[in-house]
Symmetry: C2
Subunit: 376 residues, 2 copies
């Protein structure tokens, strides 16, 4: 078995034991709440990861690009929700997937897109199952559950047999950090999305699917009455942002970046490593949270956090490691040239995207190399 010390650095490591535990915890929760789990595979964009989620009980996946849909469908996963608002120019790509047997679902949050979908379905004799995106937290896209537009969009889609349900994503949950606030946000996400479904049904429109989710709300919901499925992504790896929100602990973090110390500025207390922002990404998601981890938490090669040591700043292929608070006057001895470190990232989705592949590890041994998709 390849050992970590034999890897070229920087490298993206996935602790398979932690990943499996994260998958198991989320799946058990969803089973207990009586809903389907449709993991968002945009975090890992890797077939072995999605397969582990399906094996644990997930029914279908969520994707963030049509390229992901194509790649995962080619690998045998049929039930796919493309969770970014559809536009006319992408309908051909979507229809091509459906014609090849993919059970693709798409979303829309405005009358113009709905008309384009309905027109395309009627013209081409295809069915594109469409969920109406609901705004439940003012965070991003979607129509308000009590808006007249909801019914208008529903009617347009239904006229072409394309109305399949409603969906929402309470991304606002990322700004919270107490169990009470997270539970309240989960209930807001649930109740407003269910309210939208009820309004459609009240006017005689079908609404088979009520889809909600984000990792923080999925892990905080107390009940999910009226919901049929939950989507969540980053829970598969977790990260420092999720740790600060309070839905995981440091010992749940399954993704880290392996890096080598290449030099120092001893007077400044710096160790310089060969992982910069190209490896970590420029994501500074913990900057506005209670605990700012810079570009990441430094761990020893075995993954044990070195309390206080952070990646303080980053250039393209250089990361600067320093002890926060009090300068380490012996940094050249603490972290000599050649030392291997692991860095926990702020945001797993962003850091993972910087790598063409993962090293799937168990302990300090590499079990396999897992490729990931990218681009559009």
């Amino acid at each position: 078995m390849t050992h970590l010390a034999d890897l070229n650095t920087p490298a993206a490591l996935v602790d398979t034991e932690r990943m499996q535990r994260n998958i198991g915890i989320m799946q058990s929760r969803m089973n207990a709440l009586g809903v389907s789990l449709r993991p968002h595979v945009k975090t890992a964009k890797s077939l072995p990861v999605a397969q582990a989620q399906m094996q644990a009980g997930a029914r279908g996946i969520t994707v963030s690009t049509l390229k992901e849909a194509e790649q995962f469908f080619a690998a045998g996963i049929r039930d796919i929700l493309y969770a970014v608002g559809m536009v006319a120019s992408k309908l051909k790509l979507a229809a091509a997937l459906v014609s090849r047997g993919c059970a693709l679902k798409i979303i829309a949050d405005n009358a113009e897109s709905a008309r384009a979908i309905a027109h395309f379905c009627s013209e081409n004799g295809v069915q594109l199952k469409t969920l109406i995106e609901i705004d439940t937290d003012g965070h991003r896209a979607g129509v308000l559950p009590d808006s007249p537009e909801l019914i208008e969009i529903g009617q347009i889609l239904h006229s072409a047999g394309a109305l399949h349900g409603v969906m929402t994503h309470a991304g606002g949950s990322y700004a919270l950090s107490t169990p009470e606030a997270l539970q309240a946000m989960a209930e807001q996400e649930r109740s407003r999305c269910v309210r939208a479904a009820e309004r459609l049904r009240q006017v005689g429109l079908p609404c088979a699917v009520v889809s909600v989710g984000s990792t923080p709300t999925a892990l905080s919901a107390q009940h999910l009455e009226g919901v049929t499925e939950v989507r969540a992504g980053v829970y598969v790896f977790h990260d420092l942002v999720m740790r600060n929100i309070g839905v995981c602990s440091e010992s749940d973090l399954a993704l880290s970046v392996l890096t080598t110390v290449i030099g120092h500025q001893a007077e400044k207390g710096w160790a310089i490593v060969d992982a910069g922002w190209m490896a970590m990404s420029r994501d500074r998601g913990t900057q506005k949270q209670a605990c700012d981890f810079g570009y990441g938490q430094v761990c020893d090669v075995h993954g044990q956090p070195m309390q206080g040591y952070l990646m303080d700043s980053a250039n393209q292929e250089h990361g600067i490691i320093a002890r926060s608070g009090s300068k380490d006057d012996h940094i050249t001895q603490t972290l000599p040239v050649g030392t291997l470190l692991r860095i926990f990232p702020n945001h797993a989705c962003a850091t993972a995207a910087q790598f063409p592949e993962y090293q799937a590890i168990h302990g300090d041994g590499v079990l396999a190399t897992w490729p990931r998709f990218y681009g559009w």
Copy 2:
């Protein structure tokens, strides 16, 4: 010819006319200053771009990873400087390139790395031409020009015939924004690096190469006495950070991201597009500059800037476009669903890295698809 309107979005566009002009301006400057230009290809990581730089007169290239060195060497470019501090674990990869005929140069800034290089060269009977990295601005790596370590490292390298010269990168120039400050930084970068070369020569050590550079200092230097070559990277595309520093104007920006409006939040004055941080990167390089462009400057499909319209925030595959200062109450008419836009990025190196390929364009037509390398 494919038209922009036929591209899948998001897509990375390279305006070939602007790129050629940027290349020409930098090459002419270096010719006039009497130094070689060794462009840093980490910005584009694309063969057609590096070839255009070589055709304009560049002598060799600079790379940020050994993978780049391998890829560009395989494509026929021999003279390559790997400008990240060498460590023992990467010497085999470097030596393999040299043994295949690559004129690879490496760098070191500490005695431990120098000893590893010298030992490896002696043991294996190879020559790894090494430049000592000099710290000329306190920004990142390197030894101080007047430090005893400089001579120590020089002697270690020379003992194995590996000492080739000195190099520096005044990354601190990115924090400046007046011609006077930039000229002063360019002179500081030059004079301190030349000082290091002189100290080596004074003790009888060879120092054939004196290599300096960053885009802001390269475009600001008034003379480069004692310097043999200049390295610069981002000038090939330029970006909003360089525009704020003052070394280019908006009409020089050669890289943009093509995106489609997929929805609105009309009450908030938002248009939502299908380019989020996965396309733009999380780089917020203009945040601390005089003009903060959010995640980028919005342009119409032809590349004309729409003054005041910025990408205000970004999720993975969603960008939020808004007018800064005063909300656009007619955003659904200004930017209807389906509208194509181009976004100028903060930092070209970071945004380019998010894409597997570029669309090389002339006007609104696509001339070619240029692949790019990634990973390590």
